[in-house]
Symmetry: C2
DNA sequence: TTGAAAGCGCTAACAC
DNA sequence: GTGTTAGCGCTTTCAA
């Protein structure tokens, strides 16, 4: 009855028991639907629960419970607001939801320190498992955690110095397909533009690019490889340097979504969008609306997220077999920008 | 030494104490940096921590700790993979991170039932606070939780039947500005196309649209109002019906991002993009690259998320003043599509 | 500076 | 069916 300004305290199982005139354990049985409770008593308990607005403290239960599960998982991605990351997140959420599990999510911004801090924050709160799009290049620090019963699945990029389940797309093949597509249109001076050189996916896509040149007997020209763009504007600046050179490329393979947008912006600003061929990597929501429409190599992001979550829950449900590697195919969709024939821009 | 297949158990503070030859409490002091520990003993403890790869169980600590904080908040949005939601998420994450707090996130898909389930899941795990982009129309069920010390901030839409802090954009003004902009170009038959009619933001934007017509002495024509589109393709279908009618509009106000994309697609497919004016609401990443570029009313999503998080942490830090309402302005940026003069499409 | 004891809210184990 | 007791891993309290 006393109405102080400080918040009322939350009611506990004990309060419910007192109000219903029974014991703690009986309340526990009713709340957890264990059965073996006299229906009338159960009704009294449920009334007390309602009356006191009782909400079980799962944290406390997890502490004692034999399986020790918190019904919680942690997701670490590059940047939660990037469409690739958030599509993964949604796919994972949907699987987790079926298992009555909720998801912590955080952004790493390609920072290995942040990766360790966040895994630590999640693990200290005893998440049941972790799905990681890694930023770091050494995951041995997770070994003990893994052995101690916390499954960890790597997504988009494989683990380093650690054996674990992982899911990746066919990045090499995608880069190869993109480049071959341009070569088939007659291009021989094809620029590659990508994110930080250290990122696994970029390295793979660049590998595919090189392979395509090689089997087509086109000499590899390092001047045509622009790495280190982490935003649309970085990409525009890099391209501008390249196109101002004496021997500009006739086509561009942009190996990531932001970089592809940068390339589109650069070409539009210079009025080159119908003269220079472009194949991008990753989804761009308005690819079909641009003029010309953008030829893209895309990943099945939903399947990637779903597969990772399924691998995780398989382990959570007791599976103890060999670690698995799932490879999700990429697809090239011609839409116009990739089908432009070579035009010399030399003066 | 015994290597069984079942996972090793995690080491606890007690294990560390035993190894370091001291008591539980001393380990606690070292781990929590409380000071008043003999430096040599502290070193022994830290060595044991390392050796055993000890990781404190924050859950257990929170149970006993006087403030009862889990350093955890919950975020409920419409759909975590939608760019608006994920931009909010990122802004909130950044504020939370400064406070050493991690974020649970989940999607409601405009489903009030899901709203209750998820708040329940978060609350049962004792999040310190909640930020909600609500799907439901009655939030009185949260009143007890709020009184019991869990701050709740509403975002993008106000709470119903509950007093709480909230952050919204100037949706009405944005809708008004968009419509006035079209009227100033000479349009009098302006279509409104939006999401579910029940969504607060849509209703506000529609209100602004009506107001603009009213003060311009343009009669309101309900046939020009298309609601219920929840995807790009829904919007295309609705518009197609309207434009096939005997007296089609000369301009469109699309009140949401997916709907705007649908409108763009519709106009492009029909070759009408230079004949029918269009003003959209919300950010579209390639608005500047389309032909014509898209005139948009945009919200400052990052500021919205940040403000909501700041309101939450202010309460978490003990503030007990009146509930606040923060209103974040919207901005109209003319880019081309909104500056097309009326063209009669009647035959 | 250190440690022993109590207890957070709950479930497990075992009585009655 | 029902209740009692112990204890999950930690922090708090208080005594030494």
């Amino acid at each position: 009855m006393s109405e102080t300004h400080s918040p009322r305290s939350r009611s506990t199982m004990r309060d419910v028991a007192r109000m219903a005139g029974t014991s703690l354990k009986t309340v526990s049985r009713v709340v957890n639907d264990e059965g073996n409770v006299n229906p009338e008593l159960a009704v009294r308990v449920m009334e007390a629960v309602k009356e006191l607005d009782y909400r079980p403290n799962l944290q406390a239960g997890f502490l004692r419970r034999s399986d020790g599960k918190t019904q919680t998982i942690g997701l670490l991605v590059e940047n939660i607001s990037n469409p690739f990351s958030s599509a993964l997140h949604r796919a994972i959420e949907d699987v987790a939801r079926k298992h009555n599990v909720i998801v912590f999510a955080g952004s790493l911004d390609e920072d290995p320190t942040r990766e360790r801090e966040l895994t630590d924050a999640f693990l200290s709160r005893r998440v049941d498992g972790l799905i990681i799009v890694p930023a770091g290049e050494d995951h041995s620090y997770l070994e003990n955690e893994q052995e101690t019963g916390t499954p960890i699945v790597f997504l988009d990029r494989p683990p380093a110095n650690l054996k674990a389940d992982y899911v990746v797309a066919t990045n090499f093949d995608g880069g190869f397909a993109a480049t071959m597509h341009l070569i088939k249109q007659g291009h021989r001076r094809i620029a590659y533009i990508g994110d930080y050189a250290t990122i696994y996916t970029g390295a793979q896509r660049l590998g595919g690019y090189k392979k395509a040149l090689e089997i087509s007997n086109i000499p590899f020209d390092p001047k045509l490889v622009l790495q280190g763009s982490h935003s649309s504007s970085d990409a525009q600046i890099s391209l501008s340097g390249l196109f101002d050179s004496s021997n500009p490329p006739t086509a561009i393979f942009a190996s990531q979504n932001f970089v592809t947008l940068g390339a589109i912006r650069y070409l539009h600003n210079r009025g080159l969008e119908r003269l220079v061929a472009l194949v991008g990597f990753d989804e761009i929501s308005e690819a079909d609306l641009l003029t010309p429409a953008i030829t893209l190599v895309t990943q099945d992001v939903a399947t990637m997220g779903e597969s990772a979550a399924e691998l995780l829950f398989k382990r959570l449900n007791g599976y103890e077999g060999e670690f698995e590697k799932k490879v999700i195919p990429t697809v090239l969709t011609p839409r116009g920008s990739g089908e432009i024939a070579p035009t010399s821009l030399q003066r």
